[in-house]
């Protein structure tokens, strides 16, 4: 009964069940484009949730990602208005995001501070920096950015993906490879499973912990770039509360919040489930948007209870 893939299987089954429910209930739901839109509309959430998965696997949490996304859109818009080369802008914001994350990781690792509080302060700092740049929404009119934003990649059957969605898929694949086929990934699992044991095994615990927050800052910046393609503007109130959505996606994806157990692939399905809830509510037409929050809350509750059940069972069989 106790198999490490079981939570992931439940998540996938839940997604399939919701898709089937939508297909039976609403005409026009079962089309490839509807499902591709799940990915297109939630591309930035997907990218940032991959980074969050690593943080949570290591037993930490990163509350700053939403604010880092907003800061990325602001810096991008400001630099583009200043006439920078668009590719240089992208490289700069990725470096800023990674540095921001690494700094938080250093504070957490070096001074033994609680990740919750450090990233909370990081969230204040990043949002504050947004306001310092501008309190207004800044439009992006750069031709490279608008060209990327409008590009559609045909995938057959009259359906297409955006560049953002493609970036999200590639991030998931890269995340899976990083988690399951590199020393860094194995150390992340080991640190989340038991820091003391990982240290005794001679694993680079300190470097890995900083690396995890660096990765999270990097994916947040990447998600910010994807968001600038999606919104074509920089705004300090972009992505408010997105960190909660990302955590919810990771938990619904079957990753244990205590750390050490979970899959990056599960996070993809967590994001898709959050997306399909919104799509179902939109297709229904009579339900209001706040039902999304309530349903996400209920799902979080169910998955957390499920996790406790697994943990309790695992402890008894030990």
């Amino acid at each position: 009964m106790k198999h490490p893939l079981l939570p992931l299987a439940i998540t996938v089954a839940l997604f399939v069940a919701m898709a089937a429910f939508g297909a039976v209930r609403y005409p026009g739901f079962l089309s490839l484009q509807v499902f591709l839109n799940l990915l297109i509309d939630n591309a930035f959430l997907c990218v940032v949730a991959v980074g969050m998965t690593f943080v949570i696997l290591s037993g930490g949490i990163d509350l700053s990602v939403g604010a880092v996304i907003a800061l990325t859109t602001m810096i991008s818009a400001a630099l583009l208005q200043a006439g920078w080369n668009p590719w240089a802008v992208m490289a700069t914001v990725l470096a800023v995001g990674a540095a921001f994350g690494a700094l938080q990781g250093l504070l957490i690792q070096r001074f033994g501070l609680a990740p919750f509080i450090v990233t909370l302060a990081g969230m204040f700092l990043a949002r504050g920096c947004c306001y310092l740049i501008s309190t207004e929404s800044m439009p992006i009119t750069d031709t490279t950015y608008t060209a990327i934003a409008q590009a559609r990649i045909p995938v057959g059957f009259d359906s297409s993906l955006t560049v953002g969605a493609l970036v999200a898929l590639l991030t998931v694949l890269a995340g899976m490879r990083l988690a399951h086929a590199t020393g860094f990934g194995r150390t992340v699992y080991a640190v989340g499973g038991g820091e003391g044991a990982a240290r005794l095994m001679g694993l680079p615990v300190a470097a890995t912990r900083v690396g995890v927050y660096l990765l999270s800052g990097f994916t947040a910046a990447l998600a910010g770039i994807v968001m600038t393609f999606y919104m074509l503007s920089g705004y300090s109130l972009h992505a408010v509360g997105l960190e909660l959505d990302a955590i919810a996606a990771v938990v619904i994806g079957g990753t244990l919040l205590a750390g050490g157990v979970g899959y990056v692939a599960g996070t993809l399905f967590g994001v898709l489930i959050l997306g399909i809830i919104q799509t179902l509510i939109a297709f229904d037409g009579t339900l209001s948007s706040w039902w999304t929050r309530i349903v996400v809350g209920v799902l979080l509750l169910l998955f957390c209870l499920l996790q406790r059940l697994f943990e309790g069972r695992a402890r008894r069989t030990e």
Binding site: L113, Y131, V251, L257, V296, L305
Partner: protein
């Protein structure tokens, strides 16, 4: 002098005093208090009034953090309590021009506080009985709570037209804001419970070492349940004051980011985030520091956008000062410097 510097309330008091001095230096009328319309009037009174809801939430949060917990749902509970109260008071302009309420005021307030109490109890049950991590358990209500509040209001901002309801947030009693009396009363009751009864000792014991406390016969589960329930109730009281102050309830924005300010106030007050050590007086000072900081930023004419950056710098500074590793590093650097000269 050295004993004074080691007192738990020393640094928060110094911070607050510094902020007030900076204000007084730039704006001499800042500290002025006058008697107007039958109550005290001035910047300081305004700060006290605005800080009251944050104080109340932070007091509840102090106890939760003291038992190694965390409650990030307080903002959502504020929204729920505000919505329930505003919906039940409702009211409108009647034909005679008199303002009426739909239900008696006591019923509306009671129902709102009951809703908040249930929210707190729910968090407590998830943490204590379902054994979830506090941040996750309260995340559920944080996400769903605002949805529930919006469901109640149908996504509308509920405006209240019934004047007696406004007393909580903008009324005065004996010359001071009613909200301040409520916050002070709550603080005194908690202070009495924490210092004159065994409860304070039990809470310190649970926060210091939950297993040891349980083995020593402290009913840790029951106390934790009560603490979470109280935190919900405190958020509910704050929600009533906030909605009474703005004469309406907005399910989407009432109490937004309040959980962060509350945690910040608790940290500034010297309560250890690792549990076991807490200071209710420090928390009250922490809440005052945050509100004074906001007032300072406005009165100095600094753009309010800077507020968040200053807050972030403050959290980083306090965090580092609380970290044993950082203090050791500073001590080592200081020794090295002393060795060089």
């Amino acid at each position: 002098m050295k004993r004074l510097a080691q007192h738990a309330l020393f640094w928060p008091s110094v911070t607050l005093a510094l902020l007030l001095v900076v204000n007084a230096a730039f704006n001499p009328s800042f500290l002025a208090i006058s008697w107007r319309d039958g109550h005290l009037y001035g910047n300081l009174v305004d700060i006290l009034n605005r800080a009251a809801p944050l104080m109340i939430v932070s007091l509840g949060m102090t106890l939760v953090i003291a038992i190694r917990g965390l409650d990030i749902s307080v903002g959502a509970v504020v929204a729920i309590a505000a919505t329930v109260a505003a919906l039940l008071v409702g009211g409108g302009f009647s034909a005679e021009g008199a303002n009426t309420s739909e239900h008696p005021l006591w019923f509306a307030l009671g129902a709102a506080l009951l809703a908040a109490l249930v929210c707190g109890l729910w968090n407590g049950v998830l943490v204590v009985h379902a054994r979830m991590q506090p941040i996750v358990a309260t995340l559920i209500l944080m996400v769903a709570g605002r949805g529930i509040a919006q469901l109640l209001t149908g996504g509308q901002i509920i405006t209240v037209y019934y004047p007696p309801y406004f007393v909580l947030g903008s009324g005065f009693l004996f010359g001071l804001p009613v909200a301040l009396w409520i916050a002070a009363g709550l603080w005194l009751v908690l202070q009495w419970l924490a210092t004159r009864t065994a409860l304070g000792l039990f809470i310190r014991a649970i926060g210091g070492n939950p297993d040891a406390a349980r083995v020593a016969g402290v009913r840790a589960a029951d106390i934790a349940l009560c603490v979470y329930t109280f935190c919900g109730l405190a958020a509910g009281i704050a929600g009533l004051i906030i909605s009474s102050n703005v004469k309406s309830a907005d399910a989407n924005s009432a109490g937004q980011l309040l959980e962060l300010d509350a945690i910040l106030a608790v940290t500034l007050g010297g309560t250890a985030l690792t549990g076991g050590r807490f200071s209710l007086g420090g928390t009250v000072l922490g809440a005052l520091i945050i509100q004074t900081l906001t007032a300072t930023i406005y009165s100095l004419g600094v753009p309010p956008e800077v507020n968040l950056v200053v807050k972030a710098a403050l959290v980083f500074a306090v965090m580092l000062l609380q970290s044993a590793e950082f203090r050791a590093l500073v001590a080592r650097v200081a020794r090295l410097r002393a060795g060089e000269t």
